[in-house]
């Protein structure tokens, strides 16, 4: 297939470029990981990564959200470490692929949203070693691996065992909206869920209860082993629905609030389960979200009205709530300005598990394990980055980024730049003075400003001029595949 070769060729070029810049910036090499190297199971903490769908800080009360109370999430923050400067990506697919691989979207090729079960053609191909997930690495290190919630980067009709191939022993995932398969559009009431046994509707049940229920069941069965639990939950994404606790919620905002409160309740259920199973002290819980709130929902954060910023590169779109908690392992009551983004999770998990990154696996992130274990006061990151929103483009050659070079934002603890499709810095903000990014200081001549811009310019200069393409082996056409829209179409 010429397509395969072209894709592989392009990707190989990317890897070279990538190797060059990670060498200069922030990659974690195998030698840096701790030397625990898969010793004994009891020294390997469990990891429970809870990721809410579409929710910004303006809906988490410990960050200053004023229109909601989230007591269970707040308790995790009070008893753990609350991050102020943690970047997700702006939208679903880029966030998930970044989190799973430890690579930025410009390296994975998922620089835009591509809803695989709905649009077909491309898919997150486990056969490409570049798509190695943290789950596969953790499994190799002796972890029992589990996922529940939303995946959306494979079509389980074609590959019902995709989760297994990506490294999960067991799972309960909403299938995503499978075009031509009406029952699959339900993730909440009467949800359509894929498990190792296949996909089916769970009539009369509320999806979020099933995902959590299966997760707790898995923990119960495997509590004597180290566990890596990935919970990219379905809540609080649209459709806005009433919940079992608030069945009469009618207006969009009331339903959204009900869904946030249900999210908080589920977090509480999980913590209770950890306590009950006696594994709380060796389970590192991370609470975060995949991107900001949907645009139609406005909340109040510390007196400021915040319009949902999903798919935007503003702080409300990408600076995610991020809380790490584990009594006994993670210091309690800590708030940190340390920089981290979702590329850091894979190396962090590997380090927590006492393993090493496989030789030749290029990633962009750096482990924050020393920080969250209280061994260091800061992360090693000098800057963090977020990019990837909007819809990808379908061409004769496959799925491609909407632009050759996607816009992106890069920040440190104080300053932030916005980079255009032309690979130019077009906005510069002092986040300490201007947290809502209203004043572009790019023309400022103050020494500290020009110095900061120069620093970011070096990061930009080291980035590849062209973003990668999603890497997948072409497969037989399906009738729900999106068609290439050429000039013939009107």
């Amino acid at each position: 297939m010429t397509i395969t070769n072209a894709v592989r060729g392009a990707f190989a070029a990317m890897m070279l470029l990538g190797a060059m810049i990670t060498g200069g910036c922030t990659s974690m090499t195998a030698g840096e990981s701790t030397g625990m190297a898969a010793e004994k199971a009891d020294s390997q903490p469990n990891i429970l990564y809870i990721m809410v769908d579409d929710l910004g800080k303006e809906w988490v009360s410990c960050y200053g959200a004023e229109d909601i109370q989230t007591p269970n999430i707040d308790a995790l923050a009070a008893g753990g470490m609350k991050f102020h400067n943690a970047y997700s990506m702006p939208q679903c697919t880029p966030t998930r692929t970044t989190l799973l691989t430890g690579k930025y979207p410009w390296r994975t090729g998922y620089v835009n949203h591509w809803d695989v079960p709905r649009w077909g053609v491309a898919y997150f191909d486990w056969k490409q070693k570049e798509n190695t997930t943290f789950a596969r690495l953790m499994k190799d290190m002796g972890y029992a691996t589990f996922a529940a919630g939303k995946w959306q980067i494979n079509d389980f009709r074609i590959e019902p065992q995709a989760m297994k191939k990506h490294g999960f022993d067991d799972w309960a995932m909403w299938t995503g909206y499978e075009t031509d398969n009406p029952p699959s559009d339900k993730r909440y009431q009467d949800p359509y869920i894929n498990t190792p046994e296949g996909s089916k509707t769970y009539k009369g049940q509320f999806g979020p209860d099933i995902y959590v229920g299966r997760l707790i069941q898995f923990m119960r069965t495997h509590k004597d082993k180290p566990m890596c639990l990935y919970f990219p939950m379905a809540l609080t994404h649209i459709p806005l629905v009433a919940t079992p606790d608030e069945p009469n919620a009618r207006s969009p905002l009331d339903r959204h609030k009900a869904m946030v409160r249900y999210t908080d309740k589920l977090v509480g259920q999980l913590v209770d389960a950890l306590d009950e199973l006696g594994i709380r002290e060796r389970t590192i819980v991370v609470f975060t979200t995949d991107n900001g709130t949907a645009g139609k929902i406005t909340g109040t954060l510390n007196g400021h009205k915040v319009k949902g910023a999903k798919a935007q590169e503003s702080e409300a779109g990408v600076c995610a709530p991020f809380i790490v908690n584990c009594p006994g392992l993670v210091p309690a009551g800590v708030e940190t300005e340390a920089l981290t983004d979702f590329t850091d999770m894979l190396p962090t998990f590997v380090e927590l598990g006492g393993g090493e990154l496989p030789e030749g696996l290029i990633i962009d992130g750096t482990s924050i394990a020393p920080l969250i274990l209280g061994k260091e006061k800061d992360s090693k990151r000098k800057w963090i980055m977020a990019l990837g929103f909007g819809r990808a483009r379908l061409t004769e050659d496959g799925v491609r980024g909407a632009k050759v070079f996607a816009t992106r934002v890069i920040r440190d603890k104080r300053y932030k730049v916005w980079v255009s499709n032309d690979r130019e810095i077009v906005r510069f903000h002092d986040l300490r003075e201007d947290p809502w990014e209203a004043n572009n200081l790019l023309s400022s001549e103050r020494a500290e400003h020009t110095k900061a811009v120069r620093k970011f310019q070096k990061v930009v200069d080291a980035l590849p001029e062209k973003d990668a393409y999603p890497l997948y082996e072409p497969r037989a056409a399906n009738r729900w595949d999106q068609k290439v829209r050429g000039n013939k179409k009107r």
């Binding site: 559009d185 000039n487 009107r490």
Partner: protein
């Protein structure tokens, strides 16, 4: 290389998974419910704050499907909207340069022009129209066969040589327009005289019966076009609906219309057709003055929600219409779309769904099929043309809207003869920042106004607004600037 055999096998397997009835993803049943004079703000879920009429059945559709928030009828009045919907061509390309038709005249749709119904009939669909035609036809004396004169009335038994059954529909039960609502026609014959108050119940009953009948032969997909006569005048809610809305007869009639939507969706569900039916709910233009707009406003009900004006106008209240699509398996429940579409786009959309490129003759139609999958609409059409009752043109491109009128261009004050002497010759609005069309930017953004005017002029002169083979308007001189005083002042 993927062989044809593999493709075939995969397709066969996939279709086994999806449906057990005959209408398929490529040939779904299609139901289009077109209300008459129902304002954007008359649907509760589109106007949650200032909509006081309960529309539970339409709201339910929105929960099950996709709401288009920037959909426009081809015109601000009945006849031209219907022409555009059925042909994919703007009505102002025909002899009808303003106003509506009154019947007793040759059909506005030329005999050789393909309609949506004709196209679907070619594709093997059964096609039916139940309701208001309003595109002219002639009546023949049942005894002599002579064409009846306009001033007379059509007796029972009169035949219709150029009605819907000669324009692609297999079956017709309905009437010509509000003024002749009491003359019930079936296929090509006037069959009875019916009191107007019984019209909506009749159309409801006929729609349900049609669906029931079609369900008996599921091997043939159907197209059901239901252009209701309500809530247009005569405003005649049935006895059981009188007083229901507590807002007066118009509110009652809207509620009864909503109930008809419920009856149709119930029938689809009852016969197992809901899953493979593409259902569109919309309206032909904004709410009419006849509804008592200011009295409704005093009761807190805004018929055009946040938009300015109402039926007949160039302002959005004239032509921004409710547009909801339900198509299980294709359209995500509870979703919304803010892409700009027009009812003229039905033709190309249906063509693409059924596997045909839109024939060249649908000169102004662009498929919105990608939008149903949350993807961008691809088009060679630069913008969308609006047309008021008096023939005033307006043009929408992206966020900009240019109106070639000094006032409403319709019935709302100030009308063209009511504007102040110093009123600008045209209006330009930024619809993103100013959806209520209050801040005329015609003077401050002359380059935008010029660009839109050039595109509008080209779309008129070229005989089509999409790429395709050359096409001509039916009349030579289409007057661009309708207000005399402004002609030549551009």
């Amino acid at each position: 290389m993927i062989t044809q055999t593999i493709k075939t096998v995969l397709c066969a397997t996939a279709s086994l998974l999806a449906f057990n009835t005959f209408a398929t993803a490529s040939h779904p049943n299609i139901v289009v419910i077109l209300c008459d004079d129902l304002g954007y703000g008359d649907v509760q879920c589109l106007n949650p704050e200032n909509g006081k009429i309960k529309t539970p059945h339409v709201d339910k559709l929105a929960e099950q499907g996709m709401v288009f928030t920037d959909a426009h009828s081809g015109s601000s009045v009945c006849t031209p909207t219907r022409y555009g919907l059925l042909t994919g061509r703007y009505s102002w390309r025909t002899r009808l340069q303003r106003g509506v038709v009154q019947g007793f005249a040759p059909c506005l749709i030329a005999p050789d022009r393909l309609t949506v119904a004709g196209l679907l009939k070619q594709q093997g669909y059964a096609t039916a129209i139940l309701g208001k035609w309003h595109l002219d036809f002639q009546y023949q004396d049942p005894d002599t066969g002579e064409i009846l004169p306009k001033k007379g009335s059509a007796p029972v038994g009169a035949t219709i040589p150029d009605g819907p059954v000669s324009r692609g529909f297999d079956f017709y039960h309905g009437f010509h327009h509000a003024g002749h609502m009491d003359r019930i026609i079936e296929n090509d014959k006037v069959i009875e005289i019916l009191e107007e108050i019984h019209c909506l119940p009749r159309l409801t009953e006929k729609s349900v019966a049609y669906i029931e009948k079609r369900a008996k032969t599921p091997e043939q997909p159907f197209f059901l076009y239901v252009p209701l006569g309500s809530p247009h005048t005569p405003i005649v809610p049935s006895k059981e609906w009188q007083g229901k809305s507590e807002l007066g007869p118009y509110g009652d009639f809207v509620m009864q219309t909503d109930a008809t939507v419920g009856a149709i969706t119930d029938a689809l569900k009852k016969h197992g057709l809901a899953d493979n039916t593409l259902l569109i709910f919309t309206s032909d233009n904004g709410c009419s003055k006849q509804a008592g707009i200011s009295a409704l406003r005093k009761q807190g009900h805004y018929v055009s929600a946040q938009y300015r004006g109402s039926k007949a106008d160039s302002w959005d209240g004239g032509h921004r219409v409710p547009f909801i699509v339900r198509w299980p398996g294709k359209v995500e429940a509870g979703s919304s779309c803010d892409q700009l579409i027009t009812l003229v786009d039905l033709f190309a959309t249906v063509s693409e769904i059924t596997g045909e490129n839109a024939p060249d003759m649908a000169e102004d139609s662009v498929s919105f099929l990608p939008a149903l999958s949350d993807l961008p609409i691809v088009s060679t059409r630069k913008g969308v043309v609006h047309h008021s009752i008096s023939g005033h043109f307006a043009y929408r491109q992206g966020k900009w809207k240019l109106i070639l009128a000094r006032g409403s261009g319709g019935w709302t004050s100030p009308k063209e003869n009511q504007v102040k002497a110093d009123a600008l010759p045209a209006q330009l609005y930024d619809m993103e920042k100013d959806p209520g069309e209050q801040n005329n930017l015609y003077l401050s953004h002359p380059e935008v106004a010029q660009r839109l005017l050039a595109n509008l002029t080209a779309d008129i002169q070229n005989g089509r607004s999409t790429d395709g083979s050359a096409s001509q308007n039916d009349v030579e001189n289409i007057v661009l600037w309708k207000s005399q005083r402004t002609r030549g002042r551009r």
